[in-house]
């Protein structure tokens, strides 16, 4: 999809997510808070796909940036009275970027298990700090009473989640634009090269380490913004945005949708969160069982996730039509 031979023009199918989003706003008003949550996780998943699907960095610690962004927005509002939504986002982005560049610079010199372990350790530290620094973060109780000013002075966060949904939709749109541009650019081609054959990248003079730090920092910033959005929408932040679980859940969502395919980050969270909303309430014990089985099935038989399966069907379909055409001649 990326690269020097790809066509960067937006295909009509790519407008579907936005059409569906706007349709949902008008047709499903009771589900808008779930919808906002889905949009936030899509943004979060996009940030992970950038480093996992494109640069090939396997991490279980991405929740550190998400959680840091979430807590930055929460703390600034609840403890320091900063209620302007854009300033909150900016602060969250800056904090996450700072954590991203410092931890990235330090851990991206390592590989495989050591790297994975370090990402886990870092997210565990952030969780531990949030847990213990009760005076700042509210500890296990979290921070409630997070106030957010009306967007542009006009749109208050209402009880039905209308403002929240459109707010997140616009944020996601901007994030999607940025990521899409990046993927089709020479930088995106370079990231694919990094994933394909790192030795070759060294041999063409690419400063591999610095490129990894750069994409890691960009990814961290996006994840931080997603986290802040969650705090703003819920007007609350708690420990569940940190640690192994949100990282693990996000990984599952991305794999489900399809890694390295841009729109896998859309499909995954939609399917996962909607299914979870329905099934986990009905059968909570069976939910993780089902997800576990699904994960193993995907790993063994459908590595490309849902989009991978759709790709295969489309390919099989086009082969059938072309052979039908050929035999009809």
């Amino acid at each position: 999809m990326s690269g020097y031979t790809s066509d960067p023009r937006i295909r009509w199918q790519e407008s579907l997510p936005w059409i569906i989003g706007i349709a949902a706003f008008f047709l499903l008003p009771e589900y808008l808070s779930l919808g906002a949550r889905v949009l936030i996780y899509i943004l979060f998943a996009l940030s992970l796909d950038l480093i996992l699907g494109y640069a090939g960095i396997i991490t279980l610690g991405h929740s550190a940036f998400f959680g840091l962004g979430a807590y930055t927005a929460g703390v600034l509002s609840a403890k320091y009275g900063l209620t302007d939504p854009f300033l909150q986002l900016l602060a969250a982005a800056a904090a996450a970027a700072l954590l991203g560049i410092t931890t990235g610079a330090v851990i991206l010199r390592t590989k495989a298990l050591t790297l994975l372990m370090l990402t886990l350790a870092i997210t565990s530290i952030v969780l531990e700090i949030a847990n213990k620094a009760t005076w700042l973060t509210g500890g296990a109780d979290g921070l409630s009473g997070v106030k957010v000013d009306p967007i542009l002075g006009l749109f208050k966060f209402d009880l039905f989640g209308k403002t929240a949904f459109i707010y997140c939709l616009i944020a996601l749109f901007i994030g999607w634009l940025v990521v899409r541009r990046m993927i089709y650019s020479p930088f995106g081609a370079m990231l694919t090269g990094l994933r394909e054959n790192t030795a070759r990248m060294h041999a063409i003079g690419a400063p591999v380490y610095w490129r990894l730090v750069l994409v890691y920092t960009i990814s961290a910033t996006m994840a931080g913004v997603a986290g802040a959005l969650l705090t703003q929408v819920n007007q609350f932040v708690g420990l569940n945005v940190l640690g192994l679980e949100p990282s693990g859940d996000l990984l599952v969502m991305l794999i489900l949708g399809g890694v390295g395919r841009l729109y896998g980050a859309f499909v995954g969270p939609v399917v996962y969160l909607i299914a979870q909303d329905y099934l986990a309430k009905q059968y909570p014990e069976y939910w993780y069982f089902g997800i576990g089985v699904l994960l193993i099935v995907v790993v063994l038989f459908a590595r490309g996730g849902i989009l991978g399966i759709i790709d295969k069907w489309l390919q099989a379909l086009s082969r059938q039509t072309s052979s039908a055409k050929a035999s009809a001649r």
Partner: protein, 251 residues
Amino acid sequence: MAASALETDKLCKSFGALTVADRIDFRLEPGARHALIGPNGAGKTTFVNMLTGAIAPSSGRILLGGEDITKVNQAARVRRGLGRTFQVTTLFRSLPVLDNVALGIAERDGVARRMWKAASKHSEITDEAMQLLATLALTSDARTPVKDLPYGRQRLVEIAIALGLKPKVLLLDEPAAGVPSQDSGRILEVLAGLPGDIAILIIEHDMDLVFRFAQRITVLVQGQVLVEGRPDEIAADRRVRDVYLGEATHA
């Protein structure tokens, strides 16, 4: 005396008690057509790996265009003009041939960091890549993923990537290795047609290729330079023939 293109000064490498490179003094002139030969285990690959920066020497210096690059890392050496091909094809296998070459050109030109304009719209990169492919008769394969090409053509893509970096010095590690004999003629044509201002060092076992291509030959035996000279001198040298007694002279 004008600066050499590439030079080593008493280059040594030991792994514990095993000395793989023993005070190698080597000089590659600008525009050279130089070959490095020697029996298996002579230390040729280790020598090349030290030149490119893949491994660090135990002692000694390496100079590129007169500048000491002994402590410079691999990618930085490439940026300073030292290119190489690998003995085992090291390509971006699922990417098209054009991308393989374009990635290198983008690095050289400083375009690889650009995040806004689409890659395929960077015509300065894609045009140059296509021109390069044309000189190697790979134009028809531009959009084919490398892994779908026959091995001989993959070796050509290796060379194309290296050329795209506009190196001043090019190290070719067994360019004809594993290539069926009908295709190796193509490789020799390509090698003969390389720009005259690039200094080229090839490591080869195929003596046919070596004697047709090289203007100077260095013979490496057990980590030491045995002899260096013109092809006719080397062919006539008794010590070289002794060393190769029993070795096949054709790939």
